[in-house]
């Protein structure tokens, strides 16, 4: 069965706000069929009313579009990285649920984009179901590692001479 085996997580309001923010830094990381990683800045990343991540892919032949296709076909994860102006960052993992290439929603996306840039096109309006969210801010991650894996790190940190 091709149905994605996925335990959807609810995104917090903070993460949703960040996904919708025009000022946040947004990166999409995918892998190709050979496992090669590919990461791109993707300002169009957002969230829809169902709590799924959405993004616009403008180039049909791009590596990102190929990798997203590979991910939807074989239930592979993709990763979205977000960072706000205060330095807070999140990683959201998920599996593509749909590549919308037709229908009223798609046409709205197409109209909005081509009004701003008549040469642009919309190869796909992708929808990704999130199944993991991690706060990736350095301070939080450091504290988490110290608490859960105290063996890691250097001995001189607690050495008092």
């Amino acid at each position: 069965m091709a149905y994605p085996k996925i335990n959807k997580v609810e995104l917090s309001d903070t993460v949703k706000e960040l996904l919708k923010s025009k000022d946040a830094i947004k990166v999409l990381a995918t892998t190709d069929k050979h496992g090669e990683v590919h990461a791109v800045f993707k300002g169009s990343i957002s969230v829809n009313d169902d709590g799924n991540i959405t993004l616009i892919e403008v180039l049909e032949s791009s590596q990102t579009n190929r990798n997203l296709t590979h991910a939807i076909w074989f239930n592979r994860h993709v990763s979205v990285l977000l960072k706000d102006s205060a330095g807070n960052s999140y990683q959201i993992k998920g599996i593509p649920y749909a590549d919308h290439t037709v229908g009223p929603e798609y046409e709205e996306v197409y109209r909005n984009l081509t009004e701003k840039n008549p040469d642009a096109d919309v190869a796909g309006y992708w929808e990704i179901i999130p199944d993991e969210v991690r706060l990736e801010t350095f301070k939080e991650r450091l504290q988490e590692e110290i608490e859960t894996l105290p063996i890691l790190g250097h001995a001189d940190k607690d050495f008092i001479g």
Partner: protein
């Protein structure tokens, strides 16, 4: 129903690998494309609940679609989608009667507020239907519904009734898998009446493209016209008459038009390109060997021949460029007896050998699932196993990718008829 297949295979589930078994055996082939191939092979029906929720103000209903005039799709269902759309954008163009009754069809149900594809009660996938475009229901200046001259796929416009007659059929030499036979009998004494009105097509295209973001390309196919100063000249004239009109509404010299036509010679292709600006061209070899061509496509074999047809494909690449020319193989029709291959593997090998040979000349190949209806000469046969199709489609795609023949004009988005080129996206 009037035109469904006649043969039944009651034990097919015991004799063939199932969809799930194929997914396990071929884990690197898209499950969506395999599902598409199986749906094309087995057909589908709708439960009463699905029919209730099939809203033909949103979706294209097969009975309103003029593809039926081309002889391919006729259904007596009052509500029948003309095509399906999967989550990944894969389009499946088939009516409910494609290969109907040969094997058990998939069943489309309506569960938890969505349409789902099921088989023996198991939910396989979510599914949507082909949406009705804004121009459907509008009338041409001659008072005809625009969808009778121009049909819509999810993302492509089709002029599929440009000529509902084929001279090969008129001579009793039509292709044996082709469903145009009844139309040929109808138009034999008045072939002119089978030609569409270019003005109406132009009006419909102009109206259709007002819907921003819906259509990527315009494709035309028609029955062969062998007449003219030289072979196929009148067919070239027909395409020119339609597309010089349409071209007036576009800027530039490279236009997103595709012709699925007879094997025009180089001079005709240059003439057509200059007149109409078409990017893409398809002319179909249909079967993988010269011997089968002579048996299955006698008219084409007599007028052009198998090697001649190949040469015209190579010439077309010189005119239009690599990636803009391809040919279709009707996978499975070459297994029909008494003259067809005796095993599925022989057919797979022959199709891949031909694909490799054509790839060396930069010609693309697309393969489809053969649809059997009772109006074709080969009506007493059936499309082969899902494993056969999985091998053909993935093998053809592997060769296309190896040689870098990226015939995007026939991919999942623009065409959607050929599972082999649906695999081009990965």
């Amino acid at each position: 129903m009037a035109d469904t297949a006649e043969l039944k295979l009651p034990n097919w589930r015991n004799e063939e690998l199932s969809y799930n078994e194929i997914l396990e055996k071929y884990p690197s082939v898209s499950p969506f494309v395999i599902l598409k191939a199986d749906i094309l092979r087995r057909g589908f029906t709708l439960t009463e609940k699905a029919k209730e929720h099939f809203d033909d103000s949103i979706y294209i209903n097969a009975i309103n679609n003029s593809e039926k005039d081309f002889g391919a799709v006729i259904t007596s269902e009052s509500k029948a989608p003309v095509g399906l759309l999967l989550r990944d954008g894969t389009a499946i163009g088939c009516s409910t009667n494609q290969n109907e009754g040969i094997r058990d069809p998939y069943v489309i149900d309506y569960v938890d507020d969505k349409f789902v594809i099921t088989d023996q009660g198991e939910q396989i996938e979510d599914v949507d239907f082909w949406r009705k475009p804004d121009y459907y229901g509008k009338l041409t200046s001659k008072g005809n519904p625009m969808e009778t001259v121009l049909t819509a796929r999810p993302r492509r416009l089709d002029v599929f009734s440009a000529n509902k007659y084929c001279n090969f059929w008129g001579r009793g030499e039509g292709c044996k898998f082709c469903s145009l036979g009844p139309a040929a009998r109808f138009y034999r004494n008045n072939p002119e009446a089978a030609l569409a009105d270019p003005d109406e097509i132009e009006e419909a295209v102009v109206e259709a493209l007002k819907q921003k973001g819906r259509f990527t390309t315009i494709c035309t196919t028609a029955g062969s016209i062998t007449t003219g100063d030289k072979l196929f000249d009148d067919e070239v004239k027909m395409y020119s008459e339609i597309y010089t009109r349409i071209r007036r509404h576009f800027k530039g010299d490279e236009l997103r038009f595709q012709y699925v036509a007879s094997a025009f010679d180089k001079e005709q292709l240059i003439r057509l390109k200059e007149a109409t600006g078409n990017i893409a061209f398809t002319t179909n070899l249909e079967v993988p060997t010269a011997e089968l061509f002579e048996w299955i496509c006698p008219g084409k074999a007599k007028d052009v021949g198998y090697e001649g047809w190949k040469q015209r494909l190579y010439d077309a690449v010189e005119v239009l460029g690599k990636g803009n020319v391809n040919t279709q193989i009707v996978a499975g029709a070459d297994l029909v007896q008494p003259n067809g291959f005796k095993t599925e593997n022989e057919s797979v090998e022959a199709i891949l050998k031909l694909t490799e040979e054509l790839a060396q000349h930069d010609v693309g190949v697309v393969a489809n699932v053969w649809g059997v209806v009772s109006t074709i000469i080969f009506k007493n046969f059936y499309p082969p196993s899902l494993e056969y199709y999985t091998k053909v489609f993935s093998g053809v795609n592997d060769i296309q990718q190896k040689y870098g023949i990226l015939t995007y004009f026939d991919d999942y988005k623009r065409c959607g008829t050929h599972p082999s080129s649906d695999l081009l996206r990965d």
